[in-house]
Symmetry: D3
Subunit: 283 residues, 6 copies
């Protein structure tokens, strides 16, 4: 008698069989308003079974891909550097095996770890980033490593012309200013996404979706709800556009904080976003 | 001194005076994810008093119709066959008195009972169905009678060319496949509704609204929230189209699970949907 | 060592330095369905710090204005007349000092107090009103002073051609009838707003936003959720239009009931609406 | 076909058949902290069906008594005087028919109305009162009629040596001082209850239970939770003692605010308290 | 890379190594009030990691035993007979391997399945049962198989003098009557537990704990909260008494409904009860 | 016009006038289960106004003492060392002015900061500690500074015979072992408290109350609910015993996480505990 597996729906293959590896990185130690993103990976795993593995949008099924769900990394909530190191080492193992890492956060800071690992393998790594917030501060409350600085730290890693940010609707004036010369940042909308995707078609691309890009009506279960975001139909259009990318080398969805939405609607949104994103970009 | 009546707003006539009869059928015994639709009828009755009986959309008032609210049927949660039998007998009484049954679910399985009763009276009964889910499985977890199979069971009753399904966005690949030859199923949207309504204008029509057809942002209070649905403005357009039907012989709204939306917004949506639907279709 | 101040974000100036004065009037004593608007001012103050003071929509910052947050008035919940008197006296102090009152409700009845005070100063005061409900009853449950009669009482104060009501989607038939000759009332939408703003451009205008004008998907945290409302993008368009007014002499946002939305999304919507409204209209 | 009745469990007799009459008086307009007691009567009615009508404590059944549940009075929340008048007139009807009024509040202020009515009939009416709070202020926030003054107003009606207060654990120093000469007030406990019941055995007695007499662990669903109260076993002992009273002429349970306890445990406590109280005191 | 296991704390051994086997049977299809016990097993597994595996009460550690957690059985919610059959077959496998089944419910009906399996192996099987409710009806809402009839069905299996019921505080008069001749039923308390444990010391005993035996203050997260129950200190005394049993052949804890207690306190109570029960009875 | 102050009830004096200074230190960055203690200080401040400032237990009033409430320290959630440094500096300022620091946490780690500051002033500082958990690990998830290690770090500061721990009911076997030679640790109960208070009567004592010492029934609003704790009557007895201490030099209450108890009962318990503790120990 073997113990039952509690994986994300449609991810029942072994590590060796799989081309992409899901794992949870539920760190939320720098969250400044309402922490709780640590509970996202297990909530998404459990509720994923109540959406289907089949997508009528793409007419594809997760079960037709080869996907393995590792489960969650054990991370110390009070020690962000150790947490990032553990994540990065885990991603290194995945990419060393020529597989694509798919991370469920946690707060947005965790995105730094896989991008650091991937930037060693791909020296022309580009980032496509959806978010309500710029995340471009140089420091936040005296901290260089924070959910509010993560894109700036990624910039430190990758340099100019690598960040592509969409739907951004909140930040300091200075951040928007800074972005003008260092990032492709589109305020409020994603009109330029298709154009950027065409440019990046064959480049190695990492996609990071801070789920607070959704309007709080669609996604109340997050630490810093910011009104004025996109709805789920927008996300479907975005993912259809992203499906034209030919070399997606990693991806994450972050900032679901499930206990703030007891209806479970936010968790369903996170699950379906991840399902569509995988079906669109993992070959 | 008489006990106060707790009816749905505007339904204060007696059975004999009324042309349409509201009743609750709060069965949710086959719900596979989050049960609780049993609490819908009483929640809707209580909260209906905080929307008005007057609709500025149709410039009509529930109080100008003749409506009776029976209250709730007592149903055994662990025995779906008995539950369906009790509902069907109750509907039979209503249609024997030449009145229109208006049912508040409960899970979607309950729709089978009034349709069975009505199909004996109207041999060309047609169904107009709004839902997130196909509900066309032949069985689900080994059960032939389930919220996930209910439209298939209705099909068994009525046969080809009777089901008209709109806004469907989730199901198995096989279900969508099956629908191609047995049902008029429109994925995601309701663009063909007007055309179908024109065809069915004088036919006896039963309308069943699984309220999870709404996007979870609009309607989080349901057992299986499925992102990507319609908003309330869409529902108003749908109901305006339905108002052209001249022979609506029964209707239901199902799958409100009020305890999953403590704000009460979902219950308000259910109440207002039902108010507009009645004003549009009950003559 | 001085006690820390708990003001609304960006409102850290002194009374004397400031051109506009924020205060809370958390009265909800006539609420007929779900009371709790009394908790709105303190919830908005606390959560305002998690939106920014900078608006990328207007490219303006609350900190560049001169704003003082007084805190909350102490009001007796069981005595509406005394409550209204206390608010009116407080507003009188503000306008005597040539400053603009910005009130956070509370239920909608509180709007009567600042409008009474301002109508003495400006005899051509006009009202721009956003709401789900007409609020035009002459009395409600036998009460002349109620959240459901407040616009009628304001009419009693100001007379014909002063009320401009938008997005109204619920009320009695009689109210809509009455409005035809006494108020500019636009049902459902705000298509005529721009035209009215052009007419009122140089007039003294008071803006009152009953936050239940939002659809409950956007704003579930309110006492009487009414489906079919506007979304946050609509509100941004509305506020942009309002920014053309040159003589806004007071404003309020009312009917947030934060405990009914434990996710905090409604509070965030209220805060951001107020931030944008201030940036658009306070010079 | 008759509409189903939604009464409190075991209260299915007609008015005329019955010796005691239950009704709801869900007024909460003077609540100073968290309003919501208005929702108590309908919540108790609905959930009463999930406790039994039979008590193994008293080996008695509600169905063996003759009880009628009128339903709820319609009360204006913003007008305490009118609300009290409506309640008093309703109680007058009940006692004119020689029946015992059993009121479900609402906030504690509502107790004033039946006591006023009963004090006209019984000039030696005594009160037995369980509460966390003294409720003996002469005025509260400038209001003479308030949940915090209600026992003082009852005193005004009845005079010295009529109030018997137990388990009181919160109040102003002045209130405790005042009580020393005007009320039998036992702080914290109910050790003197038996002695007082023996004295009052044949007197007409009104019992008023402010449910916040329970510790918040037992009864979190109330507007002003006050730690340090009694548990349910204490209440059973209290009610057993009260069963020795031979002339209970009225009773109430007040201050359940069901929406603050989404688990439903507080509502169950209120229902079972009321069941036991009725079985103990209604002959 | 192996997938992480999500077992109950301290249950990390393999099936073959283990002397006792934990599994989840989250069926709740006959629940008459508030369903949701289906979510208990996964909630307990996740939260068990935040109590310790070490008990300072027994000075023992779960990790010193040999325990395997199978995970959850997949059960059809709408088909109680199939659900019971699947559970019984699973238990048969466990006892065929000479291991002790430890079941996490689900509603109380699930207890019937392991007891049926065990009664074939042990013809002198005795039951020790803790509950708020008698569960002795012969049928409930027309159903013979129900959470409210389960002990009666167990009686049908085992006969007189096998049921030992403690802390029972709710039921029909007839059930208490029936119990007098067929069951050892102690109302309200557990004073006779020690005596019964002494008698049953060497007999094969199955322990079933309906967690609603706890007072709702301790355990609000259950479908039918019944005031007047025991507290956690009582449970510790009960379990210490149970530790004298020398032949416990199976056990279960049922009726946690975690979504009704969003604080997680009920889940913690369930986990710690199970930890102590295992440490006390599994050798 | 001055801004209204939002202090803890009865703490309206200035810093200079006061003998004791309340402040909030809402750090919760190392919380391993459910974070949210950061919201405790503002929740307690707001809700403190709905208990009285007068205690009928001690017949004393907070307003008769001289108390100042500073408000909250701004602390970086992702940087525990900086957070502890800011708290320690703030406490240093308070003790330099010969005033008593009264801290509202935050997670338990924050207690380390005031104790460090006080240990420099009082070289015979003793700790009286109430908690569910030992908090004596040498490290936790690789972190030396953690809520689970804080008493061990305090030990590092003060040495043997300084820690007095009561009501401890959870920890590793090793921790209980270690405590035998380094700490006065009483498991489960507080029977030895009086004896220890007599010994420490004239010593400088710091009191730290981890509010999870309460049973979760009394205090569900905490990150790691641990069944089997004390009730509020126990706490009153504890505080009465503590009132015999003649040199209490600092105190804190920590680990309220208000968002996990939406009823507000836990916040009320925290407020009343703090009120009684201040009245008992601040002269």
């Amino acid at each position: 008698m073997e113990a039952q597996n509690n994986c994300f729906i449609g991810c029942e293959k072994s590590f060796d069989e799989s081309s992409a590896i899901i794992f949870g990185a539920g760190f939320d130690g720098t969250t400044s308003f309402k922490p709780g993103a640590r509970f996202a990976p297990s909530a998404m795993r459990e509720d994923s079974w109540y959406i289907e593995s089949y997508s009528p949008y793409f007419d594809k099924d997760l079960e037709d891909l080869n996907l393995f769900d590792f489960g969650d990394l054990e991370l110390p909530y009070g020690d962000k550097k150790t947490a990032l190191r553990i994540i990065q080492e885990h991603v290194q193992e995945i990419i060393d095996a020529n597989k694509i890492p798919i991370m469920i956060g946690g707060e947005h800071l965790v995105s730094l770890a896989p991008i650091k690992a991937l930037s060693k393998k791909y020296d022309d790594l580009h980032i496509i980033h959806f978010d309500a917030h710029t995340d471009l501060r140089n420091e936040y409350l005296g901290e260089a490593l924070s959910h509010a600085t993560v894109l700036r730290r990624i910039y430190d890693q990758l340099g100019d012309d690598r960040l592509n940010q969409f739907c951004i609707r909140s930040g300091l004036k200075e951040e928007f200013q800074w972005a003008k010369t260092h990032s492709h940042l589109e305020k409020f909308t994603y009109n330029t996404l298709e154009e950027r995707v065409n440019v990046l078609k064959n480049k190695p691309v990492y996609i990071t979706i801070d789920l607070d890009v959704f309007d709080p009506s669609v996604f109340p279960g997050t630490g810093t709800p910011e009104p004025g975001g996109i709805n789920f139909h927008d996300m479907l259009k975005i993912i259809e556009t992203l499906s034209k990318l030919e070399n997606v080398v990693g991806m994450d969805v972050v900032e679901l904080s499930p206990k703030y939405d007891t209806s479970g609607a936010s968790t369903a949104v996170a699950c379906k976003t991840l399902r569509e994103l995988i079906l669109a970009t993992v070959k």
